[in-house]
């Protein structure tokens, strides 16, 4: 983790690296949840409501992945700045959109 300029020593705890991997894990967890939501939408045939829910879930996953990529890029320095509240709120918004779209899909599902 030595900066290219090289006067800051690397962090012996590899904190930026661990944080990067935590973002990756979270994106993977999001992908699994989004896939289950997509399965929910298509399980009993294609319907307009199902397609709308499906695209909302896909959009939420895409938005979360964009936030992850940006944060991972920012974590590349030796002494990364703290995450901004905007990034945190954005990530949480993506999860809430997935949850709301999924709950609607569960409600609207066939008997």
């Amino acid at each position: 983790m030595t900066a290219p300029g090289g006067d800051t020593p690397r962090d012996p705890g590899l904190q930026p690296e661990r944080t990067r991997l935590a973002w990756r894990r979270t994106t993977l967890a999001f992908a699994v949840a989004a896939l289950l939501a997509g399965r929910e939408a298509l399980l009993h045939g294609v319907s307009p409501a199902g397609l709308l829910g499906l695209s909302l879930c896909a959009l939420a996953w895409l938005a979360f992945t964009v936030a992850t990529q940006r944060r991972i890029a920012a974590l590349g320095s030796a002494r990364p700045a703290a995450m901004t509240a905007g990034t945190a709120a954005w990530a949480v918004l993506c999860v809430v959109v997935l949850a709301v779209a999924g709950a609607l899909l569960v409600f609207l599902g066939p008997r």
Partner: protein, 159 residues
């Protein structure tokens, strides 16, 4: 009898301030929550306070936030799994369990950002980290869902 009467007359007199204190605590709590929500969208205000902590502490706080987000995603995904893979359950039971899990996940996510902001602010001010009863509430919710699943499974086999 004499010592009892001051207690009897004292109780209603004490009751009103207690209720007032309770209302005050609720108002304070709501105000604190509103202030915290305002903070999510005003990162500059978080940064204006106190001193910047060691970046490693901020990164640890960030990882804790992400761990809570994964917990939220696991609850949401678990809700979808209940609806899709427990097709033998009657629909009201299945949908109730699924919606409880999904809504619990959404609450977990919202709480994650709130707790992250409060911890970040406490670290900047050099205060103690905020305490929270949320983990206990989540544990109770998960335990209740587990018992409900067990009951439906046992009753399903019996019926």
């Amino acid at each position: 009898m004499a010592p009892a009467s001051p207690g009897l007359t004292g109780r209603p007199r004490r009751a009103r301030p207690q209720a007032a204190r309770y209302c005050g605590a609720v108002i304070k709590h709501v105000r604190a929550a509103a202030g915290a929500v305002a903070l999510w969208f005003a990162p500059a205000r978080v940064r204006a306070e106190g001193t910047t902590p060691d970046y490693r502490f901020s990164l640890a706080n960030e990882r804790t936030f992400l761990a809570w987000l994964r917990t939220a995603l696991a609850l949401v995904g678990g809700g979808f799994a209940v609806d899709q893979f427990l097709r033998d359950l009657r629909r009201p039971v299945r949908v109730t369990l699924a919606v409880v899990l999904v809504v619990g996940g959404a609450m977990c996510a919202v709480r994650a950002v709130n707790h992250w902001v409060r911890s970040e602010r406490a670290m900047r001010r050099g205060e103690d980290l905020p305490v929270s009863r949320f983990p206990a509430l989540l544990a109770v919710l998960v335990a209740l869902v587990a018992v409900a699943m067990l009951l439906t499974a046992v009753l399903g086999w019996a019926g």
